[in-house]
């Protein structure tokens, strides 16, 4: 199992390299440059800057320089904040984003799985209809609509929660909800559908025919099997939360790397945008790998060796 994990990690390196290369090129393709300000810097200063950031070198050489830096964990200097490196800035922003993302995933899994199981066990009752109906809404409404709506209701109209800022737990409530709700909805639907299928399966019928206590039939035979599709969805769910966090952090003014990304994109802070993109890419690859491993632990038909 460990050797499989290591092999998969090694296999992810080409993917990551591709992400780096494509992002590197795409960032440079965007119109404008880091020093196009309203107030033009003097030509001599600009020449100095260009030299400092090696923008005068041919692109392949710049790329090689960048990758060599990456290999040592150096994301390069920021174009916007010349005295700070991107690694430093990410080091400040990443814990914030991680807290937000992990909380959202945890909430999405707990609520989605719980509601899905509950709805399936109460199929065609009002509980089921309520869960399914809410899930439909959660899927249909994108979070950039949902977030301002919640801000309006809970922040401005009811005044229960702060609408932006960071540092206290109450600051986290609305952003985590906004980020998690679409995933709660998707996981609820997924769990419910898979529970209904497993509940009708022949092997659950066998478990009942064996006279096992209902709890054993439910936990050992039904839920365990029903969670497999949810585990497969873990990878995409993480990807959705990561991309969602970019928007949510901007809306709620949270000092995470999602905001750096947006600011970086506006300022043409090449290294910043690249750094965050690569970090996101690596994160998604890692989470997919973990999801695959969980799946193989649950399903004996999947064997890696």
């Amino acid at each position: 199992m460990l050797s499989y994990f290591i092999r998969r990690l090694a296999g992810a390196i080409p993917t990551l390299f591709l992400i780096i290369a494509v992002s590197f090129v795409l960032v440079r393709l965007a119109p404008g440059g880091p020093f196009d300000k309203e107030r033009k810097v003097p030509a001599t200063v600009e020449a100095k800057l260009i030299e400092k950031y090696h923008l005068d070198e041919p692109l392949p050489q710049q790329f090689a320089r960048y990758v060599a830096g990456l290999a040592q964990g150096d994301f390069g200097p920021s174009f916007k904040y010349p005295d700070r490196s991107v690694s430093e800035l990410i080091g400040i922003g990443f814990p914030v984003s991680l807290t937000l993302g992990l909380s959202a995933i945890a909430l999405a899994l707990a609520a989605g799985i719980g509601l899905g199981i509950w709805a399936a066990l109460r199929q065609n009752t009002w509980i089921d209809y309520l869960c399914v109906g809410t899930a439909m809404l959660g899927i249909a409404i994108p979070n950039y609509v949902f977030a301002p709506l919640m801000t309006l209701v809970f922040g401005l109209m009811l005044g229960w929660l702060p609408v932006n800022g960071w540092g206290e737990p109450r600051h986290m409530v609305l952003p985590i909800l906004a980020l998690a709700i679409p995933q709660v909805a998707t996981i609820t639907r997924l769990t419910r559908a898979s529970m209904l299928e497993v509940l009708n399966s022949n092997f659950v019928r066998t478990a009942r025919a064996k006279g096992l206590p209902e709890m054993v039939t439910l936990l050992r035979h039904t839920i365990r099997a029903a969670l497999l599709p949810v585990v497969s969805y873990l990878g995409p769910a993480v990807a959705n939360i990561v991309t969602g966090s970019v928007i949510i952090e901007e809306i709620f003014r949270i000092p995470g790397i999602g905001r750096y990304f947006v600011q970086g994109a506006i300022n043409r802070d090449y290294t910043m945008v690249l750094g965050v993109t690569i970090l996101f890419g690596a994160l998604i690859i890692l989470c997919n790998l973990i999801a695959d491993l969980c799946y193989s632990l649950l399903d004996p038909k999947v064997r890696y060796d």
């Binding site: 022949n202 019928r205 066998t206 025919a209 006279g211 096992l212």
Partner: protein, 333 residues
């Protein structure tokens, strides 16, 4: 639960006035209507009938395994204890312990995510209160009894590592762990290769001789019934249309439908195996059963009374009964 006082003659299973309905958007489906029968200790009862005649749903009702939209009413007694619509906890003292069931599709009837060991030991740990190790030992012995080679090693495997026939053997072993008085086998060989079919049936009969358990054998293969059953129930449109000791039913069927079934059996004649005749027409619509005899559209003997009045299942003596308005039929030539 009170210990039932039963005589040696008391049936293992006694079903009376059983009606099973499924609620569907298009109306109720009457899968089982007024079914009554009993299975004596050690007896093998065959249940035959075409697809959709209600064979499986009788025993799904008995085992409390109906689909969510199904409702059963009437009475089901297992060695004297009423279990129909009993609370699940009460039902679970009987299922898997005194009465077990094996199913048609061994490929999907075992849990693919658990080892055979887990699926077997949980039965003994639940019903007999055995510890994990003792349960595993007893399970290995049972696997050996159903002739699974290298049982000690293979018990640790997952179902997908077994062939279809081997999986059905595992299902049988699992069903027999607690020494049930009744084994319900719902078309246990339909999904298997012909050679494997014979092996599984042989195994069932050998186990029956060794243990003295009763068997309810559901099949649409009359040939299987001829070789193995003591008594036969013929189902049509959710009702029992004929009931008889096995030797009599082949010689003198008393219901036109049974007669049709016998004629459609492949037989050996001078040219080898030939399928003689099939019963024409469609099975009845269980959502809207016709008045009178449900078989009348397909019956060569039908007359006025058949449309007006439904024939009741009436005794002919000698353990025989049938539901038909005709005078008794003669012997088959």
């Amino acid at each position: 639960m009170t210990t039932p006082q039963f005589s040696a003659m008391e049936p293992v299973l006694e079903v009376a006035g059983l009606n099973t309905l499924f609620a569907t958007p298009e109306g109720d489906v009457r899968a089982v209507s007024d079914v009554a029968f009993a299975i004596a200790r050690g007896e093998t009862l065959g249940i035959v009938g075409e697809s959709g005649s209600g064979k499986s749903q009788i025993f799904m009702s008995v085992m409390g395994l109906l689909a969510r939209n199904g409702r059963a009413s009437g009475s089901v007694r297992v060695t004297g204890t009423e279990i129909l619509n009993a609370p699940v906890a009460e039902l679970n003292r009987v299922r898997g312990a005194r009465m077990s069931m094996i199913f048609q599709d061994p490929m999907t009837s075992l849990n693919p995510y658990l080892t055979v060991r887990r699926q077997m030991t949980e039965v003994l740990m639940t019903h007999k209160g055995l510890g994990e190790e003792a349960a595993a030992q007893a399970s290995i012995e049972m696997l050996e009894r159903v002739q699974i080679p290298e049982a000690g090693r293979r018990i640790g495997m997952y179902p997908h590592e077994f062939s279809g026939g081997m999986r059905q053997r595992v299902m049988i072993a699992m069903a027999l762990l607690c020494g049930p008085e009744l084994l319900i086998a719902d078309e246990p060989t339909t999904a298997l290769d012909v050679t494997v079919q014979a092996q599984i049936l042989d195994l069932l009969m050998q186990l029956k001789r060794d243990t003295g358990m009763a068997i309810a054998l559901i099949t649409h293969d009359l040939g299987v019934i001829a070789g193995l059953a003591d008594r036969v129930i013929v189902m049509y449109g959710g009702r029992i249309v004929e009931q008889a000791p096995v030797r009599d039913i082949f010689r003198r069927p008393q219901h036109p439908y049974t007669e049709g079934l016998l004629k459609s059996m492949p037989r050996l004649d001078e040219h080898g195996v030939t399928r003689l005749q099939t019963i024409g027409g469609q099975p009845p619509n269980l959502q809207n059963l016709p008045s009178g005899c449900a078989f009348r559209d397909r019956c060569a003997y039908a007359f006025d009374l058949c449309a007006a009045e439904r024939p009741d299942l009436t005794s002919l003596g000698e353990g025989r009964a049938r539901a038909c308005h005709l005078p008794q039929l003669g012997e088959v030539a």
